[in-house]
Symmetry: D2
Subunit: 373 residues, 4 copies
């Protein structure tokens, strides 16, 4: 089977590197194009990137020449599938250019997450929001391009744990207090003088993003847009001296009485993508541990190849109904892995640009099993 | 002025060392007796203790010989004022022996904190609970001894920030998520393999202690016992890779609408001990910082010589009313400093054992200004 | 092919856990017996061990019942191959008992490393020392048991880097300054209060071990014992806040002038075990990196599945001849992996106890290709 | 007594902040001028600086307006004494401008340390090199300005420990392996992704600086220039996860046999500045600890208010003669404190610009007691 050509915008950064790590051996996709800022364009990837992963830089990628990061400046073959790992303000400018040029932009940036016609998707949670992309001007125009986004790294692990509970019990309100890893801030990111032996109880715009993205992710697609989940969400976001893995303390109030067993069953039975055999989807999106002091980043961050959320310490909350702790890998599940999984679902739904894409209509998508899931 | 003789139970441990650091130059107290477990009794202090503070071990203390940790095993002069830094199960056995022997046991242990006739006190918060000690059997007996306790390290900073709010607005419910320093677990305490680059979302019994101690500390003394504050409290307790300083994220619901200015005023004007000139009391028990990313352990833990709570990030809570972050030094304000301050207040209230103590009655105490404060 | 039964002494500790991790899927060996101290014997492994690795505890091992740690106390089937991960003083007592009982004791302890008739071996470096085991009383007696040891974790990575240089150029003297990971001290090991934001420039007996073990490892087997390499070695050993991976700064004086290219060639061509296809042997025992700031624990500790030494920063030394930095995984290559590799070599040399072992003589061993290597 | 006006170049950086911390209450100097890059000039200090010290920013400094960092761009009163905390390439351009304008530039930069007519000084070590400044063109011209430098942070602690040994025994050769704190790299400096749970065995140009600066510092002033100490020095420099405090492992060869007692005596009796009562000079520049595992950054970095070097673990070296460990505070003694102490010595030697400076001659300086010390 031939692999589809994909490109990576912002390929030298922390998330860009994770894209390369995840896509280098991907069965469906093949990296043929990497782009970076003007300063790096024209250099070999290996000469421009400070590789910060604990697996080696793939040799084939090392030799790729970094391309300019606009469609206009590219004279050669820009793939129709673009994974974007750009800072938000740059994304705001560049991503629409690629969408207008007919590309599927699978973005990790926050720039368009809350834009009404842009799907904000975690496949296990709300793959049925993806047809929203057909409302985008780029898509309905001749180009057929679009932007699809995944949430903030602190929101992804959370909504995975919440979705099976929302489905069965309804969520009324929610507290979440996070302890987030430094890799979430990119490279160079958090100075060591700020975090060694320290906690920073503030991450710019993070609480706002977390609070609003949960509402959209757990909301419903009404055919034209997303109806937000009306649950109240209050977030406290903190940075701690951890490399990878966001830990989150959650207290939750449901719409009806719920037992411990019902919650455990909801998590255990949550396998919405199981029948689709997606390469990056974990067998168990939510894994419960009954060890009294887990999950912990050092031991649990790699669960499900870094794509599962681990939950633990389920106990009654004196204020709301239940409380628990969750852990999610912030640069795998929380960033690059989330985008790759979005692309895999788009492929299954036949929504990726290619020979037959433009003949698809929004209506046709509704018949797709994933959309109906 | 002559200094009163004091002794330290558990003198070699982390909190015992802080007692020594704080009391070595104390204007009112003089350490004349240090005790440790059977294994160490008989040794020079310097030979038995692994000193883990960043100020040198006082030379005079280094040469003291460690005494046995029961009154019965001591043949010499046991001071009437005992600061106790024992593990809870040992405290349960030993502290009553010293109280029965006529000692004021100023304890940092959790063993008797929730015992109905034992005061659990942070002087700025509830010095008026101290006369409860006169209900203890040891006190009313010939001996005149008693036990007074200070709260868990995670509760002290919290109630300091809460007390001025409770006084003015009434607290209905409370969510608190902590990130606690490793020194709170003593020495050797937390293994480095468990906490380097990690978060441990569990501290044994800590959430329970925090939840119940807040109720007693903010409760009221009815002449016979303490009426607990009926506020709902939900705690999530976590251990992080910080040496000293517990950071806590708090969301709070008041009994009536409160403005930001009213909260800031309540904190700024909270100086209940100001007129008493206690050596260890900070000028400002609660210090507000308007830096967007503070308080942080690395920069703020030493505020007020480690005796002040720093609060920051006051903002509205989408779920309750307001949220903020606080930081408190866990082995100074949160342990040894708390006990020393309790002793200073007891001295001011003329409740420390000595020539005139036994002539005092509980009734007489009611006239004391501190009690009425 | 049937796998040989093996047992693990000290199975619950840090190194014991690594043995389990490495041996659980081993093609030649099968764990059938795990033992621990009296306190744990009789318990399920999962109930007694605090698992501290980032891969899950193998389910089959979790259910094994811990056996007593002496042959005498074992009534059932004790395997003839015992991997031992005991503290030194306990090893001194227990390992000879198993050797006397006819077991091959593959030990990670320091207890017998410098004993004249005990091989101290890193297979790539001095597999030809292994026949020394035939001089042991246990072996020459009817039992056929013996003790074979691997070096201290700080010595293993070093001698791997040194061996190809010693072979080609001769080493006259050596300076090594280490920065060692906390996992080297076991669990609970180094208290976090001692190492967070800190360096401890002392590890008990470590410098002595490192200095003397290098001499034995790089020495030569004269048929009766080991002639030590007469090079002068000076070690400074330090503990740093790293989980896994010992970093070592080395300056070295050779017996003759050597160029940079010759050193790089010696390292690159060092593959003494290549033709034996041992499961745990890395393809490249010594890997050179030309990045200016590598090796680093966070990025290079897993090289060769944690069995390779990474060297870098090769440059001239103003005092001796050359200097460089090396990094080695201290609980894989530096402990459990070293012992497993020793066992694999012993198997290849037909020196492991079993149906035909006792017919072998020391003389016969000399014909083995590994011995001649 | 009136305090002399001083200015700070690079006032917002890590070292600049230390200058402010040390000089704010200085009895001899008063900060009247702070300068920063064009980007910050014109702003209030408090608005431009990210204050990273654990004592509060002095209120008086917070309100100072940052001035341009060239004499030409300053219209107002530039003090004649300038403490400079600039990056090396900027220092190379700006410091001579201030010297030409008649300022004493007390520099912490590496730009001119090895320049033949620029004194590189640690007062306890080589205050007698200071008259070298009279050879500078700026000084001999009408302006009377000059540049005086202090060494690299890793060299200062080292030469303090070496000087008393060099004086008495003569040093032939030297190994030093450092473990350096992140504050040495300034702010933002070392990214947390590079150092959390890691060691970086490389600091750009650091080994070269350390090796050559030791030769100049321990060299002798021949009336026209500095004769370098001909000892061989080999340095390995590493970055570790420590906030403040460089730890260094040293092996040393002397010109004659030396006993442990002689070394300890040399350190204990080393008090070359004692009679001068300089505000920033520690009573004991070198403090020996006989604890087996000290010095350690966490416990010893504050010795002598951060101005003393702590040495420990003195033991014989199998390769050279003796080895030991030293610790020095890298931003106090190793940077700002070193410069302030240089200024104090210059004041004592009457070499600071002022009403009578220009009447002094280089010859006259030779009579100064410090020069003769």
């Amino acid at each position: 089977m031939e692999r589809r050509k994909v490109g990576i915008l912002g390929a030298t950064g922390t998330v860009g590197q994770r894209f390369i790590q995840l896509l280098d051996q991907h069965p469906w996709f093949e990296i043929t194009w990497v782009a970076a800022s003007d300063r790096s364009a024209g250099k070999r990837y290996a000469d421009a990137a400070k590789w910060k992963l604990d697996t080696p830089m793939p040799a084939r990628i090392a030799d790729l020449v970094l391309q300019p990061n606009t469609p206009a400046a590219n004279t050669g073959d820009v793939p129709k599938i673009i994974f974007a790992a750009l800072d938000s303000d740059i994304a705001k400018e560049l991503e629409p250019q690629f969408a207008d040029a007919g590309c599927a932009v699978i973005s990790n940036s926050s720039a368009f997450r809350m834009t009404p016609d842009v799907p904000l998707v975690v496949p296990e949670v709300n793959a049925d929001h993806l047809p929203l992309l057909t409302k985008q001007a780029a898509y309905t125009s001749k180009s057929g391009g679009y932007i699809v986004t995944n949430p903030n790294c602190s929101a992804i692990g959370l909504v995975l744990a919440l979705k099976p509970l929302e489905e069965r019990f309804g969520i009324e309100s929610l507290f979440v207090s996070t302890m987030q890893a430094v890799s979430g801030a990119g490279y160079p990111g958090v100075p060591s003088l700020d975090i060694l032996g320290n906690v920073v109880p503030f991450i710019k715009n993070e609480e706002e993003k977390l609070q609003e993205e949960v509402g959209k992710l757990l909301g419903s697609f009404n055919g034209n847009g997303i109806d937000m989940l009306p649950a109240k969400v209050s977030a406290h976001c903190n940075r701690v001296a951890v490399i990878d893995g966001h830990t989150e303390c959650v207290s939750i109030k449901f719409k009806k009485p719920v037992t411990r067993e019902e919650i455990l069953a909801a998590w255990a039975e949550f396998q919405p993508l199981a029948q689709h055999h997606l390469p990056t989807a974990p067998a168990h999106p939510v894994i419960f541990t009954d060890a009294p002091d887990r999950p912990q980043p050092r031991f649990d961050v790699g669960a499900g190849n870094g794509m599962s959320t681990t939950v633990g310490r389920l106990r009654e909350c004196p204020l709301l109904d239940w409380k628990f702790v969750l852990l999610s890998h912030n640069t795998l599940r929380g960033a690059a892995g989330a985008a790759v999984l979005n692309a895999e679902v788009l492929a299954k739904m036949d929504l990726l640009p290619g020979k037959h894409l433009h003949t698809k209509t929004g209506a046709g998508l509704a018949e797709n099993e994933l959309v109906n899931a």
